[in-house]
Symmetry: C2
Subunit: 403 residues, 2 copies
């Protein structure tokens, strides 16, 4: 056997066996009606708590009051004003206040931004280096530390940050936005009361549905690795979202719809569906640049980029798109090409059905910045996607497909 044939065999093995994996997710989910009252039991009694939150919505929907009632008699301070795409400067203020007050437990009351921000605070409070931004670039130091424990009261289902270790932090001053995933930074507990959805604006419901759908597609729509169960888990989330999404968009006051939505969002990015399978994430990476350039909502960028990326990459993804079309959208008729196209169209139509426009023209955006955006990937030396084949030229092709 010569070298070439060994290499070829390796590729075949890599493509068609379930990959080795490690899975660990210690977060305690406390799910259901009235569960916010449980938080006090979860936080050790002698804790000095800092409650973190965002803007004012928790004051209007009763969640703030529920949290305060649960914390009655406990020692706590508050830190509000964590913005969308939480900013380093804001969070460093929180770190100083927490340390000055001897806080040793954090309670994030919010959606992805507040939870992500709180993960950063938990790490920065323990970091011994000069500038905590350093661990966003190289998280080895953080992986060694015992971080400040924290819990979550989720107010907005979408990111699954309530049951994973990841966080995305922005540093506007330096125009940087980085992700970190310290292995020891899972929430100790997360309270998911579906009733928090009742007061969400329609736009947040739309965003949450599309964000979750796209999280699952990033872990599913790659190439087959004989991971039969994981593929079916992903399809389970996609089918459930397909079934409930349009109804939920019309009526976010239905407990069962909200409960199913909430559990889909959490299970969509907590490690369960990614066990042993390849992952893509090119839609997210290109989407981040559209947010940076045009200020579009994150989920809007996914609804724009996702279908176009599927079209441009359909040869590499053909097998999984076919399976997705058949199992999620019942597309079983026509030639292979027709079925692939129908599955992509169904995805795009779904995003529109749940309230997100899927063309850049809908947002009055043209092609002026495409070269600049694509070049940023070039500059960083990044090729995207499960096979690292989404290069600068492909990014431009994908962006053109969004027009």
């Amino acid at each position: 056997m010569n070298d070439a044939s060994i290499a070829e065999e390796d590729v075949i093995l890599f493509r068609y066996n379930m990959n080795n994996f490690i899975f660990k997710n210690p977060t305690k989910l406390i799910f259901g009606k009235g569960q916010i009252a449980e938080i006090s039991k979860e936080i050790p009694f002698d804790s000095k708590i800092m409650v973190t939150y965002g803007g004012g919505s928790i004051f209007n929907n009763g969640i703030y009051d529920q949290v305060m009632t649960a914390l009655e008699g406990r020692h706590y301070i508050e830190f509000g004003g964590i913005e969308s795409n939480p900013d380093y400067d804001t969070l460093m203020k929180a770190v100083r206040i927490a340390n000055d007050n001897g806080a040793n437990y954090l309670l994030a009351v919010g959606g992805g931004s507040v939870i992500d921000g709180t993960k950063f605070i938990a790490a920065a409070m323990k970091y011994k280096g000069d500038c905590p931004w350093d661990f966003m670039v190289d998280q080895k130091e953080v992986d060694k530390l015992e971080l400040v424990p924290f819990g979550v009261v989720l107010t907005l289902p979408a990111t699954a940050s309530e049951m994973n270790e990841g966080a995305v932090i922005s540093r506007r001053e330096k125009k940087e936005k980085l992700a970190f995933h310290p292995a020891n930074n899972f929430p100790r507990f997360s309270v998911l009361d579906p009733q928090v959805c009742f007061s969400l604006p329609k736009r947040q419901i739309s965003n949450g549905i599309v964000d979750t759908f796209c999280h699952v597609l990033e872990q599913y729509l790659t190439y087959p690795t004989n991971s039969l169960l994981q593929e079916r888990f992903s399809e389970s989330i996609l089918i459930t979202l397909k079934d409930i999404g349009p109804k939920l968009y019309e009526n976010s006051n239905d407990y069962d719809l909200c409960a199913n939505f909430m559990i889909c969002a959490t299970m969509g990015l907590n490690g369960f569906t990614s066990m042993g399978v390849p992952q893509d994430w090119a839609t997210h990476m290109i989407g981040h640049e559209l947010t940076a350039q045009f200020g579009l909502d994150h989920a809007v960028t996914l609804a724009l980029v996702g279908p176009s990326l599927m079209r441009v990459m359909k040869e590499e993804k053909r097998e999984m798109i076919m399976q997705y079309g058949e199992r999620v959208w019942n597309i079983c008729e026509g030639s292979e090409d027709e079925r692939v196209d129908a599955a992509i169209d169904a995805t795009q139509y779904f995003y529109e059905r749940v309230g997100i426009k899927t063309h850049l023209r809908d947002y009055d955006i043209g092609s002026e910045y495409f070269d600049e955006i694509a070049n940023r990937f070039n500059t960083r030396g990044w090729c995207l996607g499960e096979n690292k084949t989404v290069n600068c030229a492909k990014v431009i092709e994908i962006l053109q497909g969004c027009l």
Copy 2:
């Protein structure tokens, strides 16, 4: 609104909303080819380890050697001979040896019996009372303790004990067999190398497939609670087992079949499919009595009792049996009754296809002990099933259906 109408509304809510739930599973899964070598990294270096195992199979299939290679240079003792349905007396011997040698970390190398037994050892080593059997009856004392940490090298996929906190322990001397579920007794880590299946006897493969299938049915085939995602997760495991089971029974040397089997078994009873849904477990309870009476393999009793129970309880389970038939077995034609019957027949045929006979006559067993078995439930005051409607008379009817 009068009392009757309030009560009726409560029932409707109970039956048709997703139930509140708490989910926590901190076990670290280390999955894939060659992963047994990783165990040394998972056990703190200064640990005094006791390795626990069962009979001789790990000496013949190379697993013992892999474990010993991984533990080279570490401080450890061994305790072998944990039997199927692990016995109190055996385990108490292990507790004494572990304590005498100052062991502070356990490593279970085996299937469900060895893992269950090790969970008991981990608790009994820390228990301060006179007789550790007491905590099998009332586990409150154990819930308060920090138990001895332990890891697992799984040799036999079936029980999911490698990723849950449950254990079933027998005390032959007193003819007792009890389950316990201390909240703090999850394995710290479990190594799942699908290659361990290559050397399993066909009977173990059959048992593992049927055991897993039945675990999922116990959590799924009850009544609808609008837990759309959890139902689809359960169906995912059932469909995957349906697809791979007969092939695996013919050939347990195929890595992908073994990998999918192994992950199905673990995910089938680790809390993930039971989030927010009612559970049955009558098949298991009746099956335990058949094992006690006739010495039948656990999985054999499930294959006997399961289909008969579905027939006897089909009115209560009608909606979920219909859904199961359609989604797992593609049964979409005929009257409702015909479809329900076809789904039950398909289940029974599946158990036969993977090598387990489904009638008591296949094991030369008649109806002589039916009354005695059913009376045991009466004596204990137990009614079984998700609605507690499986009484003594129903148990006899179910057993008669197994003839």
